[in-house]
Amino acid sequence: MNLIEKHPILEFQRGRKVQFFFDGQEMEGFEGEPIAAALHANGVRIYRVTPEMKRPRGFFCAIGKCSSCFMVVDGVPNVRTCVTALTEGMRVETQTGKGLVPPVGA
């Protein structure tokens, strides 16, 4: 885990520990932190693959205003994971391409 355990100045008030899934793999994070931060803490740096050039993309702007960290979260594509809070049991998947919109009722 890439977590800062000791810091000379800061003390981190982290949320409750929760389980989530990245591409089917079980991981641990803190409730309420951005999904992207939880993934980074788990060493995951590639969040999507771009539609045209098939380039890997990851964390970038951290304020939900670029398109770098779009992922499929609980089936929904184009979720800005840098500003979306992690919740228990979330299914987070690498997004390839522009994102498939789930059919109604799915």
Binding site: N2, I4, I9, L10, A41, P56, G58, F59, F60
Partner: protein, 368 residues
């Protein structure tokens, strides 16, 4: 439709100060902030601020935020300030002066304010180099968020691009988080930030390579290194490019004011290089050419958090005054005091650029 007397957009140092000032005069304020946590960049600053006692000099940025939050609590409990976190303003509609915003992603709301203070802060600049979209190339602000708000290290070995204050401060913060700084690159022949910030990292052995720029990020899936290049005063390459190993490339090549909604409102804008981009023309009380809109902080031109807080006070004061809050005596007294503080903060060598920039966009008054 929701209504409010004063809508402050942005809950960083400028916006918080504007909201507090306006509320102190009795105005009813709504403070909108896009982040999950209020405070803007302040809450990521572990270093102590410069300035004087009034700007909480010698206090760490994040603790200054705490002071402002404490002040805020009183007004919140009195119902004078309503704080909307995790709410991003999405547009300004000129025809009826309505601002739209989203709460998270799933709720959309409209609000019609009588007056607006735009304290939308800054956005990071990017520079072109090969592979600059590879995971591991991060903005300095993003790294601060990851590291100082959520306690996650961005990587093990960081190459910092840019030796302005942000580059220097974030390098230091990275070291505090136990991360190695491979080098700090600066394309110019002199660091852009405060000398003492540079000395802090130099003395811990971090090389600051002047006249150096990044040419390429290396790696197929994620950053594994970088190619750097020495350049002359015209940014032309000198000698052979060099390879460095790193897993993060941090871009701290400058900020530019966030002013989309000022454009949408039709405010008169001007490109001022010293203020780092397009900024709204304003009067001495921070009112733009739009009679109901004020600006403050980095959105009005890139500067320090300390002056952003004072500018926020000025804008909050003026917006409240426009709604007839406060007596002329109080307004006069406070604005004189804030102007004095601003000119002190901008008086030094480092403030010269700011002073030159402000000359180009400040007009006496819009005739109101």
């Amino acid at each position: 439709m929701r209504e409010t007397e004063i809508l402050v957009i942005g809950g960083g140092p400028a916006g918080l100060s504007a909201a507090l000032e306006a509320a102190s005069l009795g105005a009813e304020v709504t403070l909108l902030d896009s982040d999950l946590k209020l405070g803007g960049q302040l809450i990521k600053q572990t270093h102590k601020f410069f300035g004087s006692k009034e700007e909480h000099a010698g206090t760490r940025g994040l603790l200054i935020a705490d002071l402002l939050f404490r002040e805020l609590e009183d007004y919140k409990s009195q119902g004078k300030i309503k704080v909307l976190s995790n709410c991003t303003a999405t547009g300004y509609y000129k025809e009826d002066g309505v601002v739209s915003y989203v709460v998270g992603e799933d709720e959309y709301v409209r609000i019609r304010p009588r007056k607006i203070v735009m304290a939308t802060g800054a956005q990071e600049r990017l520079i072109p180099f090969h592979n600059n979209d590879l995971p591991g190339v991060y903005g300095a602000g993003a790294i601060q968020t990851l590291m100082n708000v959520y306690g996650v290290t961005p990587g093990q070995r960081v190459l910092m691009v840019g030796a302005g204050n942000i580059g220097l401060i974030v390098s230091y913060q990275l070291m505090q988080a136990g991360v190695e700084i491979v080098a700090i690159l600066e394309a110019l022949s002199k660091i852009g930030g405060y000398w003492v910030h540079a000395a802090k990292v130099r003395r811990m052995g971090v090389p600051i390579l002047l006249n150096h720029t990044i040419k390429e990020a290396l790696g197929t899936d994620v950053v594994t290194g970088a190619v750097i290049q020495e350049v002359d005063s015209k940014f032309q390459p000198v000698g052979d490019p060099q390879r460095v190993d790193c897993d993060v490339i941090c871009l701290a090549v400058g900020l530019t004011p966030t002013c989309e909604m000022l454009w949408q409102a039709g405010c008169e804008m001007k490109f001022v290089p010293q203020l780092c981009g397009y900024v709204a023309k304003r009067d001495s009380l921070m009112r733009t050419s739009h009679p109901d809109i004020w600006v403050a902080g980095d959105a009005a031109g890139i500067e320090e958090a300390s002056s952003a807080m004072v500018e926020g006070r000025v804008a909050g004061l003026a917006a409240a005054a426009a709604l007839n809050y406060g007596t002329p005596e109080v307004l006069k007294e406070r604005s004189t005091m804030y102007h004095k503080r601003l000119s002190d903060l901008r008086a030094g060598e480092v403030g010269e650029k700011i002073r030159e920039g402000l000359c180009q966009v400040c007009c006496e008054c819009w005739g109101a």
